[in-house]
């Protein structure tokens, strides 16, 4: 841009007419005045002043710089003035006060070459945080000031200002406002004047304001102001039109507005119109002349009543009897820019005049959606602030600064909690951190950092403040129109920084400094994490050139490529096809977790996601595990609970006794440890219980059909509940007094406390299931009778109640022997249960461990578990075995019982033989190695099978499979008898509580489908998919660390529950570990979190506008489903 062709500002022809912006006219005025030095700091609406100088400086041989801030700019300009050069510096209103320190002393010393300060005002805060009126500074600091009303006047005033400054030896402030700066009109040129530099003349007495000199200078200012007033009077910037006793005096931009309003309303000749561009010192003599004969005066000036008050004071001093109207009389507000209709109304009301012509019939304003400015597509600030918000989260406080990145204030980035002024981003973050100890982040751009961020950072370092400072280095001052950032050098193919921000930051004493490329989201987030975890001040510099600027500088194309959304993956729920979509509505917190998880687990970026996560495919109940874990990570526990409740009939139970196949499928198991899924379920269920969130499920309309469910264990309960939900009348029969089956009578209370079990059962029965206790199949309950009584179907779930005997010889006086089931049932009924002093438990499953730990609780002094294979081969859960050991249970492996004697159980040692069908090596007895386990009681836990005694009384035979199990249709649970269904341990299945429940639900849906004659509904839990690859995974790993039972020796060994419950913090941490392996339909991260304007929604689908997309590709990492991909080149 710099080496343009011939610039219209440089036409050196007298009388030439050129259409210029007000700001350009100022530059032309300075050129006509022979300016030799120009500088400034860009800021709307002043920026075109510096930008135009930048354009023409070299051609005119002018020394120009974009100074790093306004104070420096003014000092530079003053220095040039001291050296005898006409100099100018430009800034916006805010900058003038930033330069207040030098500004207040320059009038004392006085410039040599004319010094003009352009300070552009911004009434109505169009692009500023305030609309301060700089005019009030003029009398305070002795600054002659001019306020132009048109571009032509801006030119003329600038030229005059140099002369005024030199003659009065005061700096002159030109104060245009937005309306003038950004209006374009034809101006007439005079000839350009060559620049002159007189040189610095040493004269310390006049140039060093030590107190003695300063006092003398102060006196001299009076004389200088007198010169200034005289020159103002002769300047021609006070003009009078007309000769009425009714007058309108306008100043600044309102002069033009007033003029046009008077002309257009035909009031022009009927009032005296005074335009005043001289703000300070007021040309009093000329003003008195102008006001001669005026009886009523309306003052039209925007913002403060500066002139109005000045004129009142003048009138009082000179004894004029003029009625002065304006803000004081309520005709004008003291805020904002004036509109023409406001001015006309004030003239009509104030001066009692009536405009000609009809009132304009204007349209009414309409409610139109706002169109706020947004960061451009491909803006590196979006990537940086997205990463920032994702890492630092909701609790952190964010302090912004002045620049494009201020746009992070709005949705969806929300990275500005407060904002003050240039450089305050760091200071605010530091201050709030010091006083509250809260986590704070300060954000500013490269130019702002150099402007005033450096001292702010140094101050925070000095005070050892705990905060994170982020510098968004886009290598240009973009917001104000792409001015050069300090230290930037333009290369043929790009930009390079000569002043290293990182080096500056380090030299300020910051230890934790990193420079990252925000387009690399993963690395950027990791750098933010390190910054977050570091002590004291840590700095992250996000370096990536503004693409718009780079393209303009290098002529490269703005576009890097183009991305598109794969609609087959976008918002796709892998469970929807089987009717298992969760039904949760989308939320920002949840989406944020999903996205965070994707970016953090970088391995997911390259890996194709499966439609369902492996954990979900292994869940017998078909829970969307990544979904409810996501809700936990997002802190939305109610949503998580709803998701669990929808699929788990007995959440309080399952979260305690599930065998957790999901954790075995967890991909974390390959590298570290599985996510503790079931403990997270426990956390949510406890939360729901604590806050009384237990939701009720409303059954469908009663269909009148009766169904009998036999056996109130997990399968029976689940079936009964789900049948009831579908509108059936269900009677649940059980031989025991209470419902629960194995859960109540098999599992000890320290593992499955009774209160939560009761709550689960109560909730299910409350749906309308009728429970009949004491009904034992084959004794006082018969299937034929039920069918005769009109039950449409029978669901059998009587479990496996018969223990397998210990095949050993018993001496006649052998010690007592009982089976685990009988022993546990007796113990769980609550009465006394006979327990020996020394007990040996035979077996290696959970029942063996349960029996052993129960024996400990029932007073046994020594409990031994004898198992015939190795410890690794024990089917009991690892953490259960560990807990048993911590309670003093001895585990003796490779022992096969041989003979029950009076003094204990004689066992034979075994050694591993060839593998059997289960893959474990078959134990081979070593006959000559015998060991006696001294004991008074043997408890056998060698497995159970169905109690078949009821079959004898039944008139039909159900088809059976191996080991006497009842054969069923795996989809519906239907047996060989059309009206009899079965599930749970009496059928071929993995004998776990969760799978029994799943079988119950499956049968409920199966019965429903058969009775209604429809297809089996898709909503039933899917059968676990066993993938070969999963089987190879290392499943013999630690379960989630956080669930390890307390090994605390002080823990009492009684019936109270043994489990460690996660704290909220632990739960959220643990849930955040989920890698979200499956696709999710509840996401709109590209719009709701990232917010690139290239995205749009049509008919519910998300698309990328190829015209707007510039191909930065950051969104690719943002999409949890991996649905965004680079478009193929055309």
């Amino acid at each position: 841009m710099k080496q343009g062709t011939f610039d219209p500002l440089l036409v050196d022809v007298k009388g030439h007419a050129e259409s210029l912006l007000g700001n350009e006219a100022i530059v032309r005025g300075a050129l006509e005045a022979g300016v030799a030095f120009a500088c400034g700091y860009p800021g709307t609406p002043s920026s075109e002043v510096t930008d135009s100088f930048f354009r023409v400086a070299e051609q005119r041989g002018i020394v120009f710089e974009y100074s790093i801030n306004e104070k420096i700019a003014l000092e530079m300009a003053f220095a040039a003035s001291l050296a005898g050069a006409r100099s100018i510096c430009a800034m916006k209103h805010l900058g003038l006060l930033y330069a207040g320190d030098p500004l207040s002393t320059i009038p004392y010393i006085g410039p040599r070459g004319g010094l003009v300060v352009v300070s552009a005002g911004d009434p109505s805060c169009r692009t500023s945080p305030n609309e301060q009126d700089q005019r009030l500074l003029a009398p305070m600091l002795f600054l002659p000031m001019l306020d132009p009303s048109t571009p032509q006047e801006a030119l003329d005033m600038t030229k005059f200002a140099f002369e005024l400054s030199e003659k009065s030896r005061l700096p002159v402030v030109l104060r245009p406002t937005t309306r003038v700066c950004h209006s374009r009109a034809v101006v007439r040129y005079q000839r350009l004047m060559p620049k002159q530099v007189g040189g610095f003349v040493r004269d310390p007495e006049r140039l060093v304001p030590v107190p003695a000199n300063a006092r003398r200078m102060r006196i001299e200012i009076k004389d200088r102001l007198e010169i200034a007033e005289h020159m103002m009077a002769e300047s021609g910037f006070l003009r009078v039109y007309g000769n009425s006793d009714q007058a309108v005096l306008a100043s600044g931009a309102p002069v033009a507005g007033c003029h046009d309003v008077l002309v257009e309303s035909d009031l022009y000749g009927r009032v005296r119109f005074i335009s005043l561009g001289c703000i300070y010192p007021l040309p009093e003599r000329r003003l008195l002349e102008a006001l001669d004969g005026v009886t009523r005066l309306l003052v039209v000036e925007e913002l403060s009543p500066y002139l109005e008050d000045g004129l009142r004071s003048l009138a009082a001093r000179r004894g004029l009897s003029i009625e002065i109207l304006g803000k004081g009389s309520g005709h004008f507000p003291a805020e904002f820019e004036y509109q023409p209709e406001q001015i006309l109304s004030a003239i009509e009301k104030g001066l009692g005049l009536r405009a000609d012509g009809p009132d304009p019939l204007a349209g009414q304003a309409s409610q139109v959606p706002v169109r706020p400015p947004t960061l451009c597509p491909g803006c590196p600030h979006r990537a940086s602030q997205f990463a920032l918000r994702t890492v630092f989260g909701e609790q952190c406080l964010y302090f912004g600064d002045i620049g494009c990145y201020t746009l992070g204030y709005g949705p969806p980035l929300h990275t500005v909690d407060s904002l003050l002024c240039m450089g305050a981003g760091f200071t605010l973050a530091a201050g709030v951190s010091r006083i509250t100890n809260q986590r704070t982040v300060g954000v500013m751009g490269d130019s702002t950092f150099f402007h005033s961020g450096m001292p702010a950072l140094l101050n925070a370092v000095k005070e050892k403040v705990d905060m994170v400072a982020v510098i968004l280095d886009n290598q240009v001052t973009a917001m104000t129109g792409f001015q050069e950032s300090p230290g930037m050098k333009q290369l043929a193919d790009g930009l390079s920084r000569e002043v290293s921000i990182e080096a500056v930051v380090r030299s300020l004493g910051v230890k934790q400094v990193e420079t990252v490329d925000p387009y690399d989201l993963s690395s950027t987030m990791q750098a933010f994490e390190r910054a977050r975890d570091a002590q004291g001040v840590s700095v992250v510099i996000c370096e990536r050139a503004c693409r718009v600027h780079l393209a303009r500088q290098t002529g490269q194309t703005y576009k890097l490529g183009s991305y598109q959304v794969d609609s087959s993956l976008c918002q796709f729920c892998g469970r929807e096809a089987s009717g298992q979509r969760c039904g949760q509505s989308r939320s920002i917190a949840f989406t944020r977790h999903m996205t965070q998880s994707r970016i953090q687990h970088v391995d997911c970026k390259s890996v194709e996601k499966s439609s369902q996560a492996p954990c979900s495919t292994r869940c017998p109940l078909g829970l969307c595990i990544q979904g409810y874990l996501g809700q936990i990570a997002a802190g939305q526990y109610k949503n998580a609970y709803e998701m669990i409740l929808e699929r788990v009939p007995m959440p309080e139970t399952v979260c305690r006794v599930c065998h957790r196949p999901c954790e075995q499928a967890c991909v974390h198991g390959d590298t570290d440890r599985a996510v503790g899924v079931n403990d997270l379920k426990r956390f949510v269920v406890d939360w729901a219980h604590r806050f009384d969130q237990a939701a009720e499920c409303a059954p469908w309309v009663d269909c009148g059909i009766r169904i009998a469910v036999i056996g109130a264990g997990p399968a029976g309960l689940a079936a009964a509940y789900h049948l009831r939900l579908r509108g059936y009348r269900v009677v649940l029969f059980d031989a025991e007094e209470k419902a629960g089956g194995l859960l109540r009578y098999g599992i000890p209370a320290y593992r499955m406390p009774r209160e939560p079990l009761d709550r689960d059962i109560e909730r299910m029965l409350a749906s309308g299931v009728e429970f009949e206790s004491g009904r034992k199949l084959g004794e006082n309950l018969f299937i034929e009778q039920l069918l005769d009584d009109g039950y449409a179907a029978v669901f059998l779930a009587i479990g496996a109640q018969k223990s397998i005997d210990l095949p050993v010889e018993r001496d006649p006086d052998a010690i007592e022997q009982t089976d685990a089931l009988t022993y546990l049932r007796a113990a769980n009924r609550g009465g006394d249960v006979k327990t020996g002093k020394h007990v040996v438990v035979v077996g290696g499953g959970n029942a063996a461990v349960d029996a052993a730990r129960t024996a400990v609780r029932r007073g046994a002094e020594r409990v031994v578990i004898a198992y015939r294979r190795s410890r690794q081969d024990m089917p009991a859960w690892d953490d259960e075995i560990q807990a048993a050991e911590s309670e003093g249970v001895e585990i003796l492996c490779r022992l096969q019982p041989a003979r029950a004697r009076a003094d204990g159980l004689l066992c034979v040692k075994t050694k591993p033989g060839k593998p059997d069908a289960s893959g474990r090596s078959r134990p081979v007895a070593v006959a000559d190695q015998k060991i006696l386990i001294e004991a008074e009681q043997i408890i056998t836990a060698l497995g159970q099978r169905m109690d078949e005694s009821w079959c004898a009384s039944s008139s039909f035979d159900l088809e059976r499979e191996a080991e006497g199990l009842v054969k069923i249709d795996p989809l519906t649970g239907r047996t060989s008898h059309a009206k009899i269904f079965a599930g749970g341990d009496m059928t071929p299945a993995n004998r776990t509580v969760t799978e029994a429940m799943a079988a119950g639900i499956r049968s409920a849906w199966g019965i429903d489908a058969v009775l209604r004659g429809t297809e089996v509904a898709d909503r039933r839990p899917i059968a676990p998919i066993v993938e070969a690859s999963l089987e190879k995974r290392n499943v013999d790993r630690d379960q989630a660390e956080c669930r390890r039972p307390a090994n605390d020796p002080s823990r009492p060994i009684d019936d109270s529950e043994v489990a460690v419950v996660l704290t909220e913090f632990q739960a959220r941490q643990e849930a955040s570990r989920c890698k979200v392996c499956g696709l999710c339909g509840n996401c709109r991260s590209c719009l709701d979190l990232f917010g690139c304007p290239a995205f749009f929604v049509r008919d519910g689908g998300i698309f990328i506008d190829p015209e707007l997309c510039m191909g930065c590709g950051v969104c690719e990492s943002v999409c949890p489903n991996g649905a965004i991909r680079e478009a193929a080149n055309e």
Binding site: A17, S19, L21, T44, R126, T127, S149, T150, T178, R179, H182, S183, R184, A185, V186, A253, V255, A256, G257, H259, D260, V261, V263, E264, Q339, P340, E341, L344, P358, P360, L361, A362, G363, Q364, A365, S366, V368, P369, V370, R371, P372, P373, T374, L375, C376, C404, L407, P411, P412, M479, G481, L1087, D1088, G1091, P1093, F1095, F1096, V1097, E1107
Partner: protein
């Protein structure tokens, strides 16, 4: 010319509203007319609303007061709605049919209001509404950047400017970047035709209602 012709140009940052204003200003100067251009762009570069004024004829300010716009040139339909207070029953309003979705709507998942409803709202104030099917015409030219010049053409086609098409032709020829020159000149012609020829398929001209004032 004694009266000032007040033209309000509304659009979205990046559409070239400022360039439209600049071209009109240049043309006026070539014809020796007084002209003021107000281009209070604010933060418009970042996709916000833009409003420019071009006032041809004697005068000093670049303000257009309520009900004072003689012509509203809408580069984007929704932005035309924002300018309703500037319109009067005499105003001529040209609306480009090509919409730019405000991101605030996209975020909320809300639809863009139908253009027919926008036109209706404008017609409640003035019967002189001209729709220009910008996207279609621009596609015919094949360069998306020419939309603004197309709209300058439509404005010229109204026949209210105090200079003829040749003046604008000269300005655009002189001020266009070389690579857009040809397309811009083509767009100017198409724009003029779109409004002046009143071809219903391209420009729907509604003059059935009588002006009320």
């Amino acid at each position: 010319m004694n009266e000032r012709l007040k033209i309000l140009i509304v659009g979205v940052g990046g559409q070239g509203a400022l360039t439209v204003a600049k071209f009109l200003g240049e043309a006026a100067i070539l014809e020796g007319l007084e002209v003021m251009v107000g281009q209070l762009h604010g933060m418009s570069q970042r996709g916000g609303s833009v409003e420019c004024s071009v006032l041809i004829g004697p005068g000093k300010s670049s303000f257009i007061g309520d009900g004072q716009a003689d012509i509203v040139l809408g580069l984007e339909p929704m932005e035309v709605l924002r300018a309703l207070p500037k319109m009067s029953p005499q105003s001529r309003v040209i609306i480009n049919r090509g919409v730019i979705m405000p991101f605030s709507l996209a975020l909320q998942g809300l639809p863009y209001p139908p253009i027919a409803s926008i036109t209706e709202q404008v017609q409640e104030i003035t019967p002189y509404v001209f729709e220009v099917d910008g996207p279609v015409l621009v596609r015919r030219i094949g360069v998306s950047r020419v939309l603004n010049v197309l709209m300058v053409g439509a404005l010229t086609g109204l026949g209210m400017l105090p200079f003829d098409r040749n003046v604008l032709w000269k300005v655009i020829e002189k001020k266009s970047p070389e690579r857009f020159k040809e397309a811009n000149l083509q767009a100017l012609g198409m724009g003029i035709e779109a409004v002046a020829s009143k071809k219903p398929a391209i420009a729907v001209v509604m003059e059935s209602k009588e002006a009320t004032c």
